[in-house]
Symmetry: C2
Subunit: 220 residues, 2 copies
C-alpha cells in the first residue's frame, strides 16, 4: 500500500511540474512575474492584499488569482476594491495545482500585467508541496498562530523567498516570543527576509511592497 | 489524469476505512471513546488540552495522541503536565490516517482509559476527510481566523459533532462578527453545539468538558 502511494504521488508531481514549466514560459513571454502567497486559514492573506492594492497600483500593473475550496468571498472582497481578480475553486482540494493555475491565467491579459499574485488555499502544509509556476513562494504567518510554527511546518518556510508576519498589532495581547520566532525561522531558512506587518494599522506594508516590486526587475 | 487521481483516492479511503473500523472495534472492546480534534495551525488545540487536563483528570482516565508533521513539541508540552501522551509524526503528510492511529494506540493501556483525544495535524482541510476510528470529530476555530471560515472550509464543520471557538479573550481587539459566525456555522451544520472558550482566561472550559464527558456514557 505504501509503495503504491509513493508511486502515484511521484506521477502526480511529474504531471504538475510539466504545467508549472508551461506557466513559467507563458509568464516570461509576457514579462510577468507570479507570486504564490501561502499561509494557514485566517492568517490574513486577503486583508494583506486589500491593504497592498493602493500601494501596488502606484507602481505597477497587477492582478490576483484567488484560490479557495468553496465560496468566492475573498475574490468579491478584492473586486469591491477594483482589484483585477479571478477565482479558482478547487472543489474540495486542499491546494492549488499548476494545471488549474495555468488555465485560470487565461482570464488575464498577461501582456499588460507586471505581477500576478496567487492567494493559495488557506493551508500551511499542502500548498507548499506544489510548484504552480511561480517565481517565488511567500509565506504568511500571523503572530496569533505562535512562534513555533516554522519548526512544526518547515517545508513552507524552507521553500519561501519571504515571510510576512501579520497581525503584529495584536502582540500586546499575546504571549508571542518574537525572538524565538525569528530564531525558529533562521533554523529553517537562515536568510529568509521577514516583514512584520499590521494590516489594521497599516505598518510594515511599504517594506514588503518594496521587496516585492524589486523582484520582477531582477527577472526582466 | 483526473480519472487516475479519483481512482487512487477511493482505493486509499477504502483501505483507511478498514483500519478505522478495526480501531472502533478495539476501542469498544475496551470501553474507550476516541475524539478527533481538528483545526488550523495555531488555533489553540494544544493549549486547550493543557487547560482541560486538570478538569478531565477529576472525572475520568484519559490520554492524548499528538499528530504532527515534524517535532515533538506539543507532546512535550502535555507530558510536562503529566498528561499521558504519545506522539505520531506523519513525516510530511498533512493529516492522520486510520492505520497510523491504530498502531499508535498500542502505546496505551486502553482498558484503563475512558477517553483518547487525538490532536490532528494543524490543518482545516485534509484531516476532516479521514475517519480515524473516532466517535466524533471536534472542530476548533480561533476567533482570530475570522467568522467566514465555516463557509470557506465547510467539510470540517459539517462532519464535526462540536465546535470549540477559541481565543475569545482577544475579541475586544478584533473585528470579529460573532453573530455572523454563528449564522455561518448554522448554515453548514444547523445543530452543531458551539463552545466559546478562552484558555488564557479559563472561561467556557467547563461547558465543553461537560459535553465531552457525556459522550462516552451514551456509547457504553
Amino acid at each position: 500500500m505504501s509503495n503504491l502511494e509513493i508511486k502515484v504521488y511521484r506521477d502526480l508531481m511529474g504531471e504538475n511540474e510539466k504545467w508549472a514549466v508551461k506557466t513559467r514560459q507563458l509568464l516570461a513571454e509576457n514579462n510577468c512575474v507570479m507570486f504564490n502567497l501561502i499561509g494557514g486559514p485566517g492568517c490574513g492573506k486577503t486583508t494583506l492584499l486589500e491593504k497592498m492594492a493602493g500601494w501596488l497600483e502606484k507602481n505597477l500593473h497587477f492582478a490576483v488569482l484567488e484560490g479557495d475550496i468553496e465560496t468566492t468571498r475573498d475574490a468579491e472582497r478584492l473586486a469591491a476594491l477594483k482589484i483585477p481578480v479571478s477565482q479558482l475553486l478547487t472543489g474540495g482540494a486542499c491546494h492549488l495545482e499548476a494545471k488549474m493555475v495555468h488555465y485560470a491565467l487565461a482570464d488575464f491579459d498577461l501582456e499588460k500585467l507586471d505581477i500576478v499574485i496567487v492567494e493559495n488555499v488557506g493551508n500551511l502544509v499542502c500548498p507548499a508541496e506544489f510548484d504552480i509556476g511561480e517565481k517565488a513562494k511567500i509565506a504568511v504567518l500571523s503572530v496569533t498562530e505562535g512562534e513555533e510554527k516554522p519548526l512544526k511546518y518547515p517545508l513552507l518556510f524552507r521553500e519561501a523567498a519571504a515571510l510576512v508576519l501579520t497581525k503584529t498589532d495584536l502582540l500586546p495581547h499575546l504571549n508571542f516570543n518574537n525572538e524565538a520566532c525569528l530564531e525558529n525561522v533562521r533554523r529553517i531558512n537562515a536568510n529568509l527576509p521577514i516583514f512584520p506587518v499590521s494590516a489594521a494599522q497599516e505598518t510594515g506594508l511599504t517594506e514588503f511592497i518594496a521587496w516585492l516590486i524589486k523582484q520582477p526587475t531582477e527577472l526582466k
